[in-house]
């Protein structure tokens, strides 16, 4: 018998896939999109691309997340903010 999937784990996987797809669409190599990769320092996203990520997350998952912060947010951090914002429609 298959164990039921934890809804949080299912959501986290969906968010991770969406973030990966969005970054790849921006021209980032999929192999570079690791959990610890920083948007600015490692993936070299500028402010326009960061806004693109925010808008795509809104369009795909109907979440409003602010990615601009004093620190250079990681891919894992983006996923955490999406989950905290309450993912819908994934």
């Amino acid at each position: 018998m298959t164990a039921p999937v934890d809804p949080h784990e299912r959501d986290a996987a969906a968010v991770g896939r969406a973030v990966l797809e969005i970054l790849v669409e921006l021209g980032i190599e999929a192999d570079d999109v690791t959990p610890g990769a920083r948007l600015r320092g490692d993936l070299e996203l500028d402010s326009t691309e960061t806004v693109e990520v925010t808008l795509e997350l809104k369009r795909r998952l109907d979440v409003d997340v602010q990615l601009e912060s004093g620190e250079d947010i990681t891919v894992d951090g983006v996923c955490a903010r999406v989950l905290a914002a309450g993912m819908q429609g994934a």
């Binding site: 402010s47 326009t48 693109e52 808008l55 809104k58 369009r59 602010q66 601009e68 912060s69 004093g70």
Partner: protein, 134 residues
Amino acid sequence: MSPAGSCVVGLGIDIVEVSRIRRMVARHDTATLRLVFTEGEQLRAGDSADPPTHLSVCFGAKESVGKALGTGLAAFRWHEVDSDVHADGLGVDLSGAAADVAIRRRVHRWVAHWRRLGGHVLVSAVALGPTRAI
């Protein structure tokens, strides 16, 4: 030189590639774009002769205001800076957390300008505060 009775609290400059804003606007509906652009900005851009350039100026103004306040966009949301773009200038109006930051920095007036540079727009915003007593 700053206007009489004022001193410069901060200065922000930004350059925006118009084609990227054009792509951004084409990909998203107006409701989604409200995360970045105010309703007024979108309406005024729609009435303008060149909406992508108009919104690029708005985008650059938000960045410039964040830089002039010394916080970047970390302290407030994009849509809390509303820009009224004219051919020869630019008015900015802050709300929410952006207005709170400006009050703390004692900003009482903004002087902003923009100009087109090929496929880009260059935007500057100067935050003015009261003259310091000597």
